[in-house]
Amino acid sequence: MLRSRWAKVAVFLLCLVPFGRLAWRAWNGDLTPNPIEYITHFTGDWAIRLVVATLAVTPLRKLLHLPDLIRFRRMIGLFAFFYASLHFATWFGLDKFFDMHEILKDFTKRPFIIAGLTAFLSMTPLAVTSTKCWIRRLGGRRWQALHRLVYVTACAAVVHYYWLVESDIRWPLVYGSLVAILLAYQAGSWWRKRRTPAAAKTVGGAAS
């Protein structure tokens, strides 16, 4: 079932559902008394959720014995970038209204903005190099090494969220714990690979 072309279409549409909801609420003038803040939070929420989802793909493949899940990872990652771009653009264009003076001040003086910017910038090369062509150009190993940047993205996004909230830290903690678990899982498997170089070779070969 996961191998079907339709499975990809289904995941694509699923990733678009939040955007559809946002558009629907905008159409109905139902974006709360502070629409810009609502759009900012909504797109930020979905960006971080999908970043966590991409991190979860590899562990889930192994734990659920569903290797075909890998087919969806690139798409989920690109959707994470899509929502992060909307999030960034909303802040930049709607909230700050392209006020470069204020924006540059934020970039240099506000730690939570710097964390958010780090998350966004670290995603950008991953989105750019997500094509087959780029995997070939870089070579599987180097491509994989580059794409470990996603852990920087995830950590920076959690820190960004944590520094943003006033006192109710429940959601940042949820995302923080998920990222910590997924990172620990991945670190564990890297460590095991190092101890058995033969296994590393086959995995590396399969990826390229």
């Binding site: 629907w24 008394p33 209204f97 006192s167 830290i169």
Partner: protein
């Protein structure tokens, strides 16, 4: 120019409730199946709490001629952490808040301490309507027609002694009525404070209503403080205790994050919050930010209170 005409209908009924719900039901009908949107299917959180009209409000020279925000905005975008930390939560979770009977105890360094019932509070001084700007520390603002009178009227009744230098305020707190409060992440009950001269300033209001009606729960029913030249968190809601004291009392957000929130918390576009600029604000209902005014535009009346003080230090 502000054209005021006598309101025959209550503000909370401007959008008829029935129509409101029908609109939501209509929306929910077709798309909900596809969208799976929880909010569309669940009973709407936008029920309007019971409020009653406050007749014969006197006009006040302190009112701004600026355009008032809609009742919908002011009742569905609230910071009231005891009823949830998201802006839309107080409207949902405060709906059944019991405010009758109510006791406000005024005590401490006073000659005549007294426990006020809600009815007592309503009769301390003639009720006025005052349209004030309200600026939140989070850089959004609203314009609200409050109803009440100068807090000084109440304080004069209890006769502060010579020792009274500050006024401490305490909000209602009960986990039974406020189950969301356990997630607030701040120390509760909510406490605030003013210097005595700030509390006695005629602009400082003891507020019992807004939009010509009693306060809805999410806006601090049945009685709250309104200090228009300070960030909104200074205006404590649902007051149960006012205590005249000798030393500067603690205030909740200062306890939570002393480097971000001070005791004075006067609106000041030149002193940034560590995490964001205070130079501009978004008036709800407006697209572009507008410049923030020193003392929220009340400088002519209050600047003298802070003569000679370094407002960067005493933020």
């Amino acid at each position: 120019m502000l054209i005021k005409k006598p309101a025959d209908i209550r503000y909370s009924e401007v959008t008829p409730k029935a129509l409101y719900f029908n609109r939501r039901k209509f929306l929910a009908g077709i798309p909900a199946a596809f969208l799976g949107a929880r909010e569309l299917l669940a009973p709407s959180g936008r029920a309007l709490a019971d409020t009653s009209k406050l007749p014969n409000l006197a006009k006040s020279p302190f009112s701004t001629p600026e355009k008032e925000n809609s009742y919908e905005d002011v009742t569905h975008y609230n910071n009231f952490y005891e009823f949830g930390t998201a802006k839309d939560e107080p409207a949902k979770y405060a709906r059944n808040f019991k405010t009758n009977p109510w006791t406000l105890s005024v005590e401490g360094e006073v000659a005549k301490p007294r426990k006020y019932s809600l009815d007592d509070i309503l009769h301390v001084a003639p009720l006025e309507e005052r349209i004030y700007r309200h600026r939140c520390v989070e850089a959004w603002s609203i314009v609200v027609p409050w109803a009440g009178y100068s807090l000084s009227a109440l304080l004069q009744q209890v006769q502060p002694t010579a020792k009274a230098k500050f006024v401490a305020f305490q909000s209602y707190y009960d986990l039974g009525q406020m189950p969301q409060a356990r997630y607030a992440g701040i120390q509760l009950p909510y406490v605030e404070g003013l210097r005595l001269d700030e509390a006695m300033h005629p602009l400082t209001m003891l507020t019992v209503g807004m939009y010509g009606e009693t306060l809805p729960p999410q806006d601090g029913a049945p009685v709250r403080l309104t200090v228009p030249w300070k960030y909104g968190f200074k205006s404590a809601k649902s007051l149960v205790k006012i205590r005249l004291v000798e030393k500067q009392p603690p205030n909740t957000w200062n306890l939570q994050a002393p480097n971000e929130y001070g005791f004075y918390s006067n609106v000041n576009p030149k002193v940034d919050h560590p995490r964001w600029s205070q130079a501009t604000e978004r008036r709800l209902g407006e697209f572009r930010r507008r410049p923030t005014l020193m003392f929220n535009g009340y400088g002519d009346q209050v600047a003298s209170l802070y003569a000679g003080m370094d407002l960067r230090k005493y933020y």
